[in-house]
Symmetry: C2
Subunit: 287 residues, 2 copies
């Protein structure tokens, strides 16, 4: 079933290209237009039939479209909305896939003019390999997608955006943008910060005989630091956009780490076991 | 080729049972005796033909054996050596699989009497699922095994112990026990401490609308906290046995985390990107 006549994907990377592929596979859209700054990437996307056409001119790319999906780094989303909003025909929907929602949805609400509709989205999908090359039509299948309506959000627009994510296999959940940023600050942003900090602690660390400690790493270290190979620019912007939650959650983690450190320092085996046991219980509930 | 006539495995869990299976598969040993405190576990091991016989009496289990391999938690290794050393016939070899080596090898050197030989080993193999049930003959295949000879270590004994690990597919590396504990404090013990602390930080954490944040976890959080489901008692003992390195490495990590925190607080994107980039580079070198 067709959901839209024309969709414009802004940023044809891992998320944008995977969305386009998923829409094509399910025949949800008549025509997909790509926009981006990298002409050769857009050409490649067209050659691979991921998109039907493209433009490096933003107003051309969004004119006469039903839906604009912003699939670019979080800090570029508001400037792009600023530039494209006056180019839209009335009735156009806008959504994004940014990992931080509160600053985006509040700015977007101010920018989007009467007759057009913005709904913030965060499909929980991705991977540490970026770009078109890593895209696939099943990226979103069976994953959660958070939508973050505000008081200003149009109910029909929210339904239409939710229907798109559902049509490509996602489980759509509505949260306030504030609640979203707290949750993903905890389960996603904090783990990335920790993985980067751990890698910084071990990189270049040598023994007295000049052996690099990382030469002895095993599956445990590889798993715990997998996300440290994520895009530094993307994660810089996420951390800065979600600054307050990031800082509070780092504090919370530091307090827990300090408590474990104190138990080791005091050689308090009973307390240490209690803490490790609580962590294990919580980890088993994750699965 | 037979390496030993009779081997006694003390502790028939994941590591002990996997060693027995690997030796049997390669026909390295005439007879494998199991010792442990849990009679039903020993019976099961015999029924499954992992071991040839067993005893719950330590002196009986080690009498007339060529090699004793201690596969029990780190803090039990020295007390066990204390109890078994007087029961050995002259020429018996002893090794262990403990994850911390410095306190063990120095105590063992003092305890093991003239004519018997101790060599500390740490095969880098395991998994978060414990016990006989999780054992397999290929657990050690292609993994590293650290041996930690001291000034007192007999050269021939070191060769014989190394030959055993090599025969079951391991890449044997000799390090000082001090160097071993620093390295594995960094690449193994610190990551476990961090995974436990992260899980403690998120367990039970709720939003203002009473949603559990861990209900929104994805692959990133699952990977970074996988090792938090490891045995709390085993890791309590490892952290306490490697106390000084653990404390210093936690300090080092806390410093790196604090630097990232400061960059976020100051909204210093350039510095934050630099730190994330350095971490990513180091992570890519891990593979």
């Amino acid at each position: 079933m067709k959901l839209f006549r024309k969709v414009t994907v802004i940023g044809v990377g891992l998320l944008g290209a995977s969305l386009a592929k998923a829409c094509k596979e399910r025949d949800l859209v008549d025509k997909i237009t790509g926009y981006g700054r990298n002409l050769s990437n857009l050409k490649k996307a067209k050659d691979l039939k991921i998109i039907d056409n493209y433009s490096v001119d933003l107003s051309e790319a969004v004119s006469d479209t039903d839906l604009v999906v912003l699939c670019t780094p979080v800090l570029t989303i508001i400037p792009l909305i600023q530039n494209l909003v006056s180019q839209l025909r009335p009735g156009t929907l806008i959504t994004d896939v940014g990992s931080v929602k509160d600053p985006i949805v509040h700015e977007a609400d101010k920018l989007v003019t009467e007759g057009n509709f913005f709904v913030g989205s965060h499909p929980i999908a991705g991977g540490e390999n970026p770009g078109l090359e890593a895209s696939c039509s099943s990226l979103y299948q069976d994953a959660k997608c958070i939508v973050t309506p505000t008081k200003k959000t149009d109910k029909k627009a929210l339904k239409q955006i939710s229907a798109l994510w559902q049509a490509i296999g996602m489980n759509v959940i509505a949260l306030s943008s504030e609640e979203h940023d707290f949750i993903f600050g905890a389960v996603s942003h904090l783990p990335h910060i920790i993985a980067y900090a751990l890698m910084n602690s071990l990189g270049g660390l040598k023994t007295s005989n000049n052996l690099e400690v990382t030469g002895f790493s095993g599956a445990g270290l590889r798993d715990i630091t997998r996300i440290a190979s994520s895009d530094p620019v993307m994660w810089r912007d996420i951390c800065l956009s979600n600054r307050n939650h990031s800082l509070n959650l780092i504090n919370r983690f530091q307090k827990n780490l300090e408590e474990i450190r104190n138990s080791i320092e005091r050689e308090d085996g009973q307390e240490l076991e209690k803490k490790f046991m609580a962590a294990k219980k919580c980890r088993l509930n994750l699965i």
